[in-house]
């Protein structure tokens, strides 16, 4: 048993939160994209986090972003007859990305990232302290 596992756990959480931050930046970048690969406006992407089990009996393995879901919120419809994607009545379906929500998520992702850095640096200090026994 050692503190090495703690570093793996925190590292998994840091990479999961970096992945979330990537999705957030993708959402913000596409906040005005009315075209997407799937057709229609860009749909907001949300990562799904799941606990990782260290072994078959219990937890302790960290976290993993298992998949990316599309936000099912309906697209806001904006009246903009000059837009090339406007329908016959002049309405455009915009992406369901709310910049303010994304900013709040961004703060959550970066704070969680920081919290995990704190945990791994505490583990590092404990390991260094244990090394002092040999002094």
């Amino acid at each position: 048993m050692s503190l090495d596992n703690v570093l793996d756990v925190s590292a998994s959480a840091m990479s999961a939160n970096r992945f979330w931050l990537e999705r957030i930046s993708n959402n913000m970048a596409n906040a005005n994209s009315t075209h997407s690969v799937a057709g229609g406006p860009y749909q907001r992407e949300v990562p799904v986090f799941a606990e990782v089990l260290a072994n078959e009996t219990g937890g302790g393995g960290g976290v993993e972003a298992t998949s990316v879901m599309k936000d099912p919120t309906p697209f806001p419809v904006v009246y903009n007859p000059g837009h090339p994607d406007a329908d016959a009545r002049g309405f455009v379906r915009m992406p369901n990305v709310n910049i303010v929500n994304e900013m709040v998520d961004m703060i959550a992702a970066s704070r969680t990232y920081e919290a995990n850095i704190t945990v791994s640096s505490a583990a590092k200090n404990m390991m260094n302290k244990a090394m002092d026994i040999a002094k």
Binding site: M1, F49, G58, G59, G60, T112, T118, A122, M126, I133
Partner: protein
């Protein structure tokens, strides 16, 4: 001569417990955004005290802490280190491992039974986890300091200072 005292072995086991608790806290903080996550706790102190009580009990005596004939520390939750009663940990005791509760003792993670406080069903109170992490690290360092002192004493004896 046995070089390291049974107390050092007991302290080493408690370091195992603190390490596992730190891992549980890291796991809880890692899963702070996981929906329906149930946080894990490690409470090893009582089971370690029990294992120590079993270990310090004289051979052949009852290991039941409720038995008045059992030679245990009279205060519940505390263990008196009687070196005479301590079974040797090294050498012979390795083959004797099944009878020595301290050698087979392991801390465990348990899922919390607290109800979910958040809408996403997550049960991790981040503030509690962080303060638990800090106090866990302090206790870990304290145990390390005690082990250091113990070895310092042995070093002084070895150097006949």
């Amino acid at each position: 001569m046995e070089f390291s005292s049974p107390m050092v072995h007991a302290l080493e086991r408690s370091l195992d417990g603190f390490s596992l608790r730190h891992q549980a806290i890291a796991h809880n903080i890692a899963n702070v955004n996981t929906p329906n996550y149930v946080n894990q706790n490690v409470s090893f102190e009582q089971s370690l005290v029990d294992a120590l009580a079993d270990q310090t009990a004289p051979r052949g005596a009852s290991s039941d802490p409720l038995d008045p004939n059992t030679d245990l520390a009279s205060i519940p939750g505390s263990v008196e280190f009687k070196l005479g009663n301590m079974r040797p940990m090294a050498g012979a005791s390795v083959t004797d491992g099944h009878n020595n509760p301290l050698l087979t003792w392991q801390p465990h993670m348990v899922k919390s039974s607290e109800p979910a406080q958040r809408l996403d069903g997550n049960r991790t109170p981040v503030e509690t986890e962080v303060s638990g992490m800090v106090s866990n690290a302090v206790k870990y360092n304290a145990v390390v300091a005690v082990i250091q002192k113990e070895f310092g004493i042995l070093k002084n004896i070895a150097q006949a200072k």
